[in-house]
Symmetry: C2
Subunit: 412 residues, 2 copies
């Protein structure tokens, strides 16, 4: 072990830095160039024996994120040697030092993606490069080592191909993918993790819309999910744990999800982006969602919904919507008093959440300051024409029945 000297820099706890962090500083604060980035040609595959493969339950019995496929993708980063040879291996536990950064300082990043089975039987991903780019930004935000996202995507597609039998065939079903990057430095110094593990696990998922109904939201301002200068605009595990207690309080009051506020301005709904549809005086619709100001996750579904709305009717006709209906999208702050006023005046015709897991999800009512903003019921399920149009078109694109802008990418 190195002896500390008078000139040795201090860590966040005021104690001398470990030698490997010193090295980072001496090299101009960029981690040393790894000897190797992710290299798909070094992939090793260890398959589960045929007779040990898991039984896949009926699609109706699937519960989100509870059952995992037979295999996982796994890589490690070491500052001396860079990224390890990738492994596809049987799904199984991780073995980690109890001092690891992922436990102590939450240097953890994840993505949510889905694989679909196209009409041709070929697995597909939905705009995967957007997830990869976001994951790289998330990693940088918590000072985890960078990686070649194109190479990682090649490996992810290989994993999907190996476990393709797990992709449910029914409409609206998919295989949910969870790429995860965790810091694994085994030391308590309050500094960046010099080591990491990168892995992908996969879980078959049913659709939300098998039981179609709007969900209820409880608007919360005493607990605040994100803040200017915080991490709410990045996909970090640490954005989620603080929501579980407020989520319990909301459920206690009879609401299914939290609507996160910053002051009286809406940011997100649960772990989803938030949209409203407002009837204009000219009979057309304004579709409004909060702007990407750093407090809001830049959702892939959010971006896709905005694109589809902007394309109607000039470039495509969304189902259930008349070609004479114009949809004007706006990325601007939405406050609760505005929402109350628009509801009272009858302008607020739909509200919905969007995200990878849910695709598009109607909202039935929003509780705020001891009253409810109740959305139009549309025959009981609160699913208005905009929600229905977006869900159907997105699922059709995701499952390869409708080609659109190259969003659906086949895994060869």
């Amino acid at each position: 072990m190195a002896i500390q000297t008078d000139t040795q820099p201090l860590m966040a706890n005021g104690l001398p830095m470990p030698a490997d962090d010193l090295q980072v500083i001496k090299n101009g604060l960029i981690p040393p160039t790894p000897h190797s980035d992710i290299d798909p040609s070094r992939l090793t595959i260890t398959l589960v024996p045929e007779d040990k493969l898991k039984e896949i339950p009926h699609a109706d019995d699937l519960i989100f994120g509870q059952l995992f496929t037979d295999h996982m993708l796994y890589l490690e980063y070491d500052p001396a040697s860079g990224w390890s040879a990738p492994e596809i291996r049987p799904y199984g536990p991780l073995t980690l030092d109890p001092a690891s950064s992922c436990f102590q300082y939450c240097t953890n990043v994840f993505e949510g993606m889905k694989a679909y089975l196209g009409p041709d039987g070929v697995p597909r991903l939905f705009r995967p490069k957007l997830n990869m780019a976001r994951m790289a930004k998330s990693a940088a935000r918590v000072a985890l080592p960078p990686f070649d996202t194109d190479a990682f995507l090649v490996l992810l597609q290989k994993l999907i191909a190996i476990d393709a039998r797990w992709i449910p065939r029914a409409r609206g079903h998919s295989l949910y993918l969870r790429p995860t990057l965790i810091g694994t430095r085994p030391g308590l110094g309050v500094t960046a993790s010099t080591h990491a593990s990168l892995y992908v696990i996969m879980s078959p998922a049913g659709p939300f819309f098998r039981t179609p109904a709007g969900i209820s939201l409880y608007a919360v301002s005493d607990h605040v999910r994100s803040w200017p200068g915080g991490t709410g605009g990045h996909k970090l595990g640490l954005n989620y744990a603080p929501g579980f207690h407020p989520q319990r309080l909301a459920a206690e009051k009879g609401y299914q999800q939290v609507l996160w506020l910053l002051g009286d301005t809406i940011t997100e709904a649960g772990a989803m982006n938030f949209f409203i549809a407002l009837k204009r005086e000219d009979g057309h619709l304004d579709i409004v969602t909060p702007p990407l100001d750093g407090t809001i996750l830049p959702g892939v579904t959010r971006a896709s919904v905005l694109s589809l709305l902007n394309a109607h009717p000039s470039a495509t006709s969304l189902p259930h919507l008349s070609n004479s209906l114009r949809l004007y999208t706006h990325e601007r702050p939405i406050t609760m008093p505005e929402l109350v006023a628009w509801s009272a005046s009858g302008q607020l015709v739909e509200a919905f959440c969007v995200g990878t897991a849910v695709v598009v999800n109607a909202i039935s009512r929003i509780g705020w300051e001891e009253r409810d903003i109740v959305l139009p019921s549309y025959g009981g399920d609160h699913i208005g024409p905009v929600v229905r149009a977006l869900w159907e078109r997105l699922v059709d694109i995701q499952e390869g029945r409708v080609e659109w802008e190259g969003w659906s990418v086949t895994c060869e």
Copy 2:
């Protein structure tokens, strides 16, 4: 696996809740009463064989948090059976499902404590009930299961007794303890972790003041550590990862630590609480630290420093400080413009950080908006009389040479 129904509540991702969370909701949103809380009488101890015990390096060679003692304390929580029988076992890795909440959603809590060897050779802890109470609050904030902190403290003292040979004997040295609580639910639903692991690891630590010198801080407002309604007032792992990137940027500019701002108001310094000493017109001192408004960690050292300052000279005489000197403590916001003005007028005579790892640590300069606030040098090391007094008195109390208010607790 349960079949989802139309009335099934949704998770944060809009998909149906797993059955165990449903049960939580049906029971009034409080996890079911566990069959057992932590029970020290069920402790099992597995010792490392004598000939396999680690070699303890010389105290001068210790680097904070890099080397761990021979044993660790370990317990698990299962919603069906409660807390497991406690184990003291050889230090070793944890084995966890890759879907565990601790990796995915950062449901992770820790504490920092120190064990000291008293003049009588008996190990001592410093105000451990304050750490236990804070840990219980942290656990509740991220919806982790509660536990009997008194029983946990009994077990922690037992662990210290078993590894007592690791407590360094030199003044200002100690055995750093890291109690850790992590969520271990193996599922991707965005809900509270129903399972947990609770453990303690220990690492021998040298003192900061072996190389005495003030540290430099870089005041940062574009990255924000904490905000009203956030988690900055709790000891959660997730408060730390977002600081690593700004910490690198500060080091790039030649500063050792970040001084966290909210707007232009100071919150914390690195992972420590922040204090200043101001010379009054009457020759006495105002000692100011930001208030516990929820954005600031309620530090055990912070509380102890305030108590000692308030006790001088009526109840105790702090070393290096005249009995005719009065110390007026204030918990109130400190802004950067105020700091600049007090520095320019000569009122700002000392600035320092306090925390468990560092005890008390002088600050030499603070960079803000392209200029430096330089603190008085006191012969070069920037250690003024207040810092010196507090450090000496705290270490004397911690190591059992001075008895004060029962703060130092022996481990029998």
